[in-house]
Symmetry: C2
Subunit: 193 residues, 2 copies
Amino acid sequence: MNKGKHTKQQILATALNVATATSLNDLTIGGLATVTGMSKSGLFGHFNSKENLQLEVLEYAQTIFIESVIVPTNQVKPALDKLLLTIECWLDWYQSQGNSCIFVAASVEFDDQPGVVRDLVKKRLQKWLAYLTGMVEQAIDEGSMRGDAKQIVFELYSLYLGSEHMAWVGFEDAQHSRFKLALKSLISRHQHN
Amino acid sequence: MNKGKHTKQQILATALNVATATSLNDLTIGGLATVTGMSKSGLFGHFNSKENLQLEVLEYAQTIFIESVIVPTNQVKPALDKLLLTIECWLDWYQSQGNSCIFVAASVEFDDQPGVVRDLVKKRLQKWLAYLTGMVEQAIDEGSMRGDAKQIVFELYSLYLGSEHMAWVGFEDAQHSRFKLALKSLISRHQHN
DNA sequence: TATGAAAACGAACGTTCGTACTTTTTAGTG
DNA sequence: CACTAAAAAGTACGAACGTTCGTTTTCATA
């Protein structure tokens, strides 16, 4: 790999950490340069605009996400098992990111800010929801689940968001027991015996 | 009312609109001055710091919220009816704010930014969750509901967050039918016959 | 090893923002 | 009406940020 591509990957790795811990806007070029031990302009040259930096950070986050939760479950069957394992990997990934999801955070940050960043965030979240929905649909097709796939995913994703939010607020056991309990209930309600 | 207090209320009203539509950080003093037709320093004099402005906007939002969803349900009994009406008012208020909640947005914006603003946001959300929990507990005491009050509130609030988030993403019917359907299911699962 | 391109640097610019200071205008009161 | 305190305006400053430009250093390769 070229030197340039190599350092760029390093930059993106720490940039993702910073952006996840703070936000895509608080991810400042000068600050990122300091953290990575580079000069502002030297770092800037890799992206040529802050917007591009933000986009590339999101793309980088996406590759990490895919490696962490899509790939490890790729060959799992049947669909219900795959779904459950995916949720586990999803939570592990979420935890590895310091208990926050940059896509969810960015969706709040950019929801009123038209542009390519917002479009990308929305697209990624749509893809993820569609992916989950597809798995549930397949589980239904296989006869191991029943109900409306989209409604199930709606409730599943809601629990994820609720867990993230209420854990921050300090709601009792929001992060662990409450989510798993609700998830168990959700699954069993839509499971075929 | 003094002239000062009067214009301050006007400022806060439009400030809440701006902050809800964008964010508490994007709520800029100069911009707010332009919108309200004042000078930057004239407006600044009412708050003496941006942090105070943010705090007062949140307090103002709180008073609106109380007027909109706490007061109208204050005398309703039994607790289950009060809970259902509260949820209705809650959604109405949410819609009146342009389908976004400044407290939720601020919780994401300030989650990593220690200070009085973050503390206030967290406190308000805690109070709201405790308020909901209290109502559910009372409904349980009255024999019209059963289950773990906190778990029920956890799932209820999760659905609210999911509805807000997924409506933005464009998930089918997230905002209306899906929330109400899930809510109905949640209630009926914990209702005593 | 020599060379040209890529990468990194240093300094500076334009803009935006919060804030401080001073002055002018407004409004309430004796 | 006069007077004073509050409210609003005008101006300015310093810091932070994204970005540009010219230069220097590093690296891959011939």
